[in-house]
Structure formats: C-alpha cells, structure tokens
Symmetry: C2
Subunit: 259 residues, 2 copies
C-alpha cells in the first residue's frame, strides 16, 4: 500500500488574519506523515499594489495580470507570505521549504493563450516534475508552495492555488495515496448557502450531478467542485472541503468528496 | 579527494542591471560541477521602500532594519529577485532552487544583540544545517540563496550576503573542496584604487598583513578581506575576488586569496 500524502490548500481568509494563520499553522504542523501546503495570496497583493499605485486592470470583470501586477504577486506570495509561513513552521519544528513552481523546475505552465481576453502573465499548468519533490518528501521536508509557476523560458506566471494543489496531488498519485484538503471560510459545501449548519458531509459523483441539477451548487463553488472531481478522476484518493476545524483530529463537520 | 564546490556571491551592481545579471547568469550556468549562488539585494529594496513611503532609519551612518524594512527585504530579496533569478536559470537548463536561510532550516541566526545601537532585525549566523543542502547538491539542484536567515523562533532576519556565502562555504568543507567567488564591480583587489589595471593577482596571509600595514587595503575592502581570510582560516580552499570576467574559463584578471 502506498503511503498517505496530505496536500492542504489555504485561501485568502486564513492568510489575511495573523491569528487564523497562526492557528492554522499549528494544526498543519500536527498532521502526521508527508504533507504539502499550498497558499494563495488573497488581498495582500491587492493591498500592496494599491500602496505602490499600481491599478488592477480588469476586463469583463476578470483580473488581468500585467507585468507590474505579476511583480507584486511574486513579492507578496513568493516573498513575504511564503517565507513568513516557512519561518513560522520552522518554529513549530516542521521542516518547511518554500517553493514557487519555478524552483527545482517543479511546475511548468504556458501563458494562457489569448482568445477573447489577454489575461496577461497567467499560467496554465502543462507538467509537474516530481523528481525533486519526491526527494523532499522522502527526506522529511514539507514543501510550501505559493501560487506561481514558470514557463521554462524564464517567465514566472500567476497560477490559481486550487489548481496548483490539485495538479500536485494528481502528479504524486503514482507514489502516494493523495488526499486534498481545501481550507476556506465555510465549514464545507452547504445545501443551504445561508446556513453553516447545512454542511453536506459526503458527495460522490452521482450526488454531485444531482446537486448541480437542483442548482444547490452555484457561484464560486462550481469551479471549486469541478476542480475537485477532476482530481478524483485522475486518481486522487479523496478531497475534503471545510474550514480550519477540518484539520482537528476528531473533526466531522466538513465535506468529503469521492468518486 | 573531495569534489569541488563553487560558491558565487553577486553584489548590487550586477543585480541592479538587467543586462549584467543576464550576462552573469549565463556564465554562472556554465560553471561545471556543484555550485551555489548567493545574492544581495542592492538598491532594489531601497527603491521599493521609497515607493512605499518607508524611510530607511539610520543610526551613526548605519542602516537599521525595522519591521517594515525587513518586510521590504523579504519581498524584494526573497521574492522578486530570488524567484526571477531562479526562473532565468531554469531557462538556461540550470536546475535552480531559491532559498532563504529559513527554508529547510539551513541558516540559523540570532538577532544582533543591542549594544550601542539596535540594528533591528539583523541576524548573526549561529549555525548552518547542511543535511538538506547536501541532498540538493548531490541531486544536481543549484541552491540560490538570498540574504535572509531565521532565528528558529519564527523570525526572519536580514543577514549580510558576503557572510552567508562564507558561512555556507565553511559549513560544506567537510564534504567539498569549497571555492568562494566574490563578484563585484572592480576587477579585483587593487594596489592603486584609482587604476583598474592594478589588480593584485594573489594575496596570501603574509602579503595581506603587509598590505594592511601599508594601508593599501582600506574602506569597504577591509571587512571584505577580513571575511575572506576568516573563511580560509576555516578550511575554505580558496577565495577569488573580481568582476564578471572572473567566471570566464580562461580569465586571469582577478585576485586569488589563499592562506
């Protein structure tokens, strides 16, 4: 049987609160066995861009990553957030190593092709090179990824953190039984968006299609779940969605997704 | 015989010019065998601090690293510069991995004790943990260090890049014959500060003391050479000082220091 690998992705709500982040890192450091952390950047980059007088370009309601916005992303995600998280984990005796997708050439992407909109320096992942990553995991290191990839030609690219987490999980299924944990502000997938007490504890592909049909799943949850089932379809063992509570040893309030 | 390891440190003058940096990275990527790059940040951090309206505090002509200045250093050295260098090296087929001293717990420091001046978040190195670093080198990875360390209690610290390079070289002498290359704007140690044609090609400890006595070595070169002889006294094989030319295969115009 393959060893279990936990890949945890945290979103903006945790990153933005010093207290929440500290609480999360304690829980994360206590996860047994090999593990990977993937973090987004949330509003930190926007706040930094504002301070620097860089305007976030938007086209059709979507954010465009121009050269200056990419620099801000590299500074905040790849620099400040990533290294601060690593230093905090080291203090918790968790041997963290901060990585972008360019480091050790792990995550290669292509600049998203221009169709109707040029999204700028946004990367769609084309390959994950696990050779170094496997050595890190096997020697007890805990990789901490920020949401950056590279194109192999010297260009860093902004890449969605949810996608980075799922692509890493998929790439490592050959050697590990990979479990993906998406940590966000809600306690799980809700059957009633207005009630945090309506967590759906288990969703499989069949119930997923029913929920889609009934329009129970909508808005931002749609691409999230699509990404989860994509991972499951590509041999990821299970995907869990919830808030920090999900990482407590005896927690039960969160959503587990399986095929 | 131990394998040769080259540790190259580049200063502000190379970092600040896109052209010079590109030229340097090509030469660096062509160095045979295991190698490490250490980079400072130069004026990039100061420029960023200016843009953010953060004033560089100075006491007795020395720069103080307060909380905000440290954040700027982490963003620019640890983020923008480090990850851009890594992406460029990857494009040159050099399997770079960007690191701060906190990553894999490699460089531990203590906040410089307050005597007459509180320098703020400045770290004096206390130990270098080579375990992961050796694995990186042995598996063909090329570590790229920025000038940051950590205190093991969650605090990142600003640390002089020259010192990081020499402490890494010293720590790795058990497994490698380490050569240190300090790349700066001058072609080497000059006997006449006004003439670039006056490079002293070789300095040993005996000639070093003579040069000190004659006041040939002065100003910023004093701590630089002190640091070099400290490394040589701690089993580093040789130290070379010069500009980019030093890395050319048949170059001869630079200063070599040995015991």
């Amino acid at each position: 049987m393959k060893p279990i690998l936990s890949i945890v992705k945290i979103g903006g709500n945790i990153i933005e609160s010093e207290k929440e982040l500290a609480r999360f890192l304690i829980l994360f450091s206590q996860i047994k066995g090999p593990k990977i952390l993937v973090h987004g950047g949330g509003k930190k980059a926007t706040a930094m861009a504002d301070k620097l007088g860089i305007k976030t370009a938007m086209v059709q309601g979507r954010r465009i990553t121009d050269k200056k916005s990419l620099e801000v992303a590299v500074m905040t995600y790849g620099g400040l957030l990533n290294k601060s998280i690593v230093a905090s984990l080291q203090a918790l005796k968790c041997n963290a190593i901060g990585l972008s997708g360019a480091d050790a050439g792990i995550i290669q992407a292509v600049k998203r092709p221009v169709e109707l909109v040029d999204f700028g320096f946004v990367g769609d992942i084309v390959s994950v090179h696990t050779q170094s990553l496997l050595i890190f995991l096997q020697t007890g290191l805990v990789p901490v990824f920020c949401a950056l990839s590279h194109d192999g030609k010297g260009q860093l690219l902004n890449t969605n953190a949810d996608t980075i987490a799922s692509e890493l999980a998929i790439a490592l299924t050959k050697e590990y039984t990979t479990s993906l944990y998406y940590c966000f502000e809600k306690p799980g997938v809700l059957s009633d968006i207005s009630s945090d007490n309506s967590v759906i504890s288990h969703i499989n592909k069949q119930t997923y299609f029913s929920l889609l049909k009934e329009h129970t799943i909508a808005g931002g949850m749609l691409p999230k779940l699509e990404n989860c089932f994509y991972a499951l379809d590509h041999s990821v063992h299970k995907v869990c969605i919830g808030n920090l509570q999900m990482l407590l040893p005896n927690s039960s309030t969160y959503t587990t997704l399986t095929l």
